[in-house]
């Protein structure tokens, strides 16, 4: 518990900053909705002139773009991007920061096993992510109810919003395994930004060319928001793969970290 609280405190500042950014982002986007909905016809005309590939890459779907949920889905693409960077940052930091700040000797000579350390850190990150998402979803829902033209389906709204958390989990796991495999990480941000943006670009490209196989590769494509809106459900295969991916990477991270030599600074 002491480690968990210590870790949580260590991420407090970054969690607050990220939460504020995500919240600001959604408030900003949704506040534009009334204006866009009002001039829907004109907007549609403009967007019609865009190449179809660009529209898809931006995450818009013309049929639904002018409904609140459709508009929100487009917004989510960018919330997802930011949230993923946050998650990957946290994941990559938890183990590597002990080596970077040279505090590994302190922590690892305490009467705790490495698994206990990993667990405490993992839960601290999960807690930070959950808190971010809770605040984000509350803010987004409030904003949505403020700008809605017609009553919105809150269950669907929640189902869409929570995909941010699901995608974050994948990037967090990826970050953790990177941080136990790479011997010395000098700076976290280039790694997390690089990885997240690579996946984001892959997902944009695959959207615009309509490729489906790449859906398995990039976490951004695991949750097809249009599918969720249409069916009020997630696509089971992708959930299974995500679960498998998370369980495997986290288990491997535990094993690698427990067997790793911690070298002197």
């Amino acid at each position: 518990m002491n480690m968990f609280l210590h870790e949580l405190r260590a991420y407090r500042k970054s969690t607050i900053i990220w939460t504020c950014s995500l919240t600001t982002l959604v408030i900003l986007f949704l506040s534009m909705y009334p204006a866009i909905a009002k001039d829907a016809a004109d907007f549609k005309k403009i967007l019609d002139n865009y190449p179809a590939a660009v529209i898809k890459a931006l995450g818009f779907s013309l049929d639904s773009f002018f409904s609140l949920l459709g508009f929100y889905s487009a917004t989510l693409t960018y919330v997802l991007l930011c949230g993923s960077i946050q998650a990957m940052n946290l994941g990559t930091s938890i183990i590597s920061k002990e080596a970077r700040d040279k505090t590994a000797d302190f922590l690892l000579t305490k009467p705790v096993s490495r698994s206990q350390i990993m667990t405490a850190k993992l839960f601290a990150v999960l807690t930070s992510l959950v808190m971010t998402n809770v605040i984000y979803i509350i803010a987004a829902s409030l904003m949505a109810s403020a700008v809605q033209a017609e009553p919105i389906n809150y269950k669907l709204f929640f189902m869409l919003s929570i995909t941010v958390f699901f995608v974050q989990l994948m990037f967090m796991s990826l970050g953790i395994i990177v941080s136990v495999i790479v011997p010395k990480i000098k700076s976290v941000l280039p790694i997390s930004m690089g990885t997240v943006f690579s996946f984001f670009i892959v997902s944009m490209l695959s959207s615009s060319i309509g490729d489906t196989t790449s859906r398995f590769i990039t976490p951004f494509k695991y949750y097809d928001l249009m599918y969720i809106i249409k069916n009020s459900a997630y696509e089971t295969p992708y959930i299974m793969i995500e679960l498998l991916f998370i369980v495997t990477t986290i288990t491997l991270s535990y094993i690698i970290y427990s067997k790793k030599d911690i070298h002197a600074v």
């Binding site: 002491n2 210590h6 260590a10 700040d101 040279k102 505090t103 590994a104 000797d105 302190f106 690892l108 000579t109 305490k110 009467p111 705790v112 096993s113 206990q116 067997k259 030599d261 911690i262 070298h263 002197a264 600074v265």
Partner: protein
């Protein structure tokens, strides 16, 4: 009983560095010196004992338990002070110490105050703002606050001024009197000589010898310096038992181990103007050891 039993401990890193077949015991309640130049393998041995790195072969027992398998349990009774201390920079000293104490499931606040008073440590300062020496003090308090049964020190005195070193040594002696065993790694012989009962000498990853400090000191080594009336070939003294033979102007100096009568006769046969016969300090024996083995 032994606090530490190291048996054929080997750790290889890829090719060169590491330790080979290190074996020695640290008995309960003793202060054991661990001596060798930088890079000889002192830290590698210690880090294996602490389960920070894993042995390639062989192993060690602490309190009779395997140091890797039972690492978390053993760690309850170990206090460790590394040569360079690093802590979470944005914490205050007291918060760091409390965090450290929180791992041991006992109330350490009294001990924290005692220790930091002895070491003149300002508890309210941020770790970030501390000098190297003051960080070291945090390390000392942090390593001793849970009253460990085994204290492992890896070149602990760097950064401490002589006054603080003395206080620190006194502190260690007190802990030792209360029953703690101490493994004291250092490349500074005088401090080991001052503190320890026994010593292991390590060179290039191998233990050269494990001896009582007193044996090392006695060992019948004499440091002899003779000033001649006239220049003499230094090889005149090159008989068995003589080492580190050196000549400068009319002064010849060497270490001698063996029958003193022999060397006295040699000296008395010469016209000398002065003679010094001294106990060598550990440093000289040590260099002698290294020269011989090397």
């Amino acid at each position: 009983m032994n606090s530490i039993e190291i048996k054929n401990l080997t750790k290889t890193y890829g090719t060169a560095r590491g330790i080979t077949d290190v074996s020695f015991n640290v008995e309960d309640g003793e202060i054991f010196g661990f001596i060798g130049p930088n890079g000889a393998g002192k830290s590698t041995t210690i880090r294996t004992l602490l389960a920070l790195i894993y042995p390639t072969s062989g192993g060690a027992k602490i309190f009779g338990k395997d140091c890797i398998k039972f690492a978390p349990e053993i760690a309850k009774e170990i206090g460790y002070l590394p040569s360079e201390v690093f802590y979470y920079d944005n914490m205050r000293v007291i918060d760091l110490l409390k965090y450290s104490a929180s791992f041991y499931r006992k109330d350490c606040s009294k001990r924290i105050n005692e220790l930091s008073e002895i070491m003149e440590l300002d508890l309210k300062k941020k770790i970030d703002d501390l000098s190297f020496g003051n960080k070291k003090k945090v390390g000392i308090v942090q390593g001793l606050l849970h009253e460990p049964k085994l204290i492992i020190l890896d070149e602990p005195t760097s950064g401490l001024d002589p006054l603080m070193q003395q206080k620190f040594f006194d502190l260690l002696k007190d802990e030792n009197k209360k029953g703690a065993a101490i493994l004291f790694s250092s490349h500074i012989l005088s401090e080991v000589q001052k503190m320890c009962n026994r010593v292991a000498i390590i060179k290039e990853g191998k233990i050269i010898t494990v001896e009582k400090i007193s044996t090392l000191e006695e060992n019948n080594y004499k440091k002899i310096k003779v000033e001649m009336k006239s220049t003499v070939d230094k090889d005149y003294f090159n008989i068995s038992g003589v080492s580190n033979l050196e000549a400068k102007d009319n002064i010849i100096s060497f270490l001698f181990k063996g029958n003193l009568n022999l060397i006295m006769k040699k000296i008395s046969d010469m016209e000398i103007s002065n003679v010094w016969i001294e106990e060598p300090d550990l440093e000289e024996i040590f260099i002698h050891y290294y020269a011989k083995e090397g």
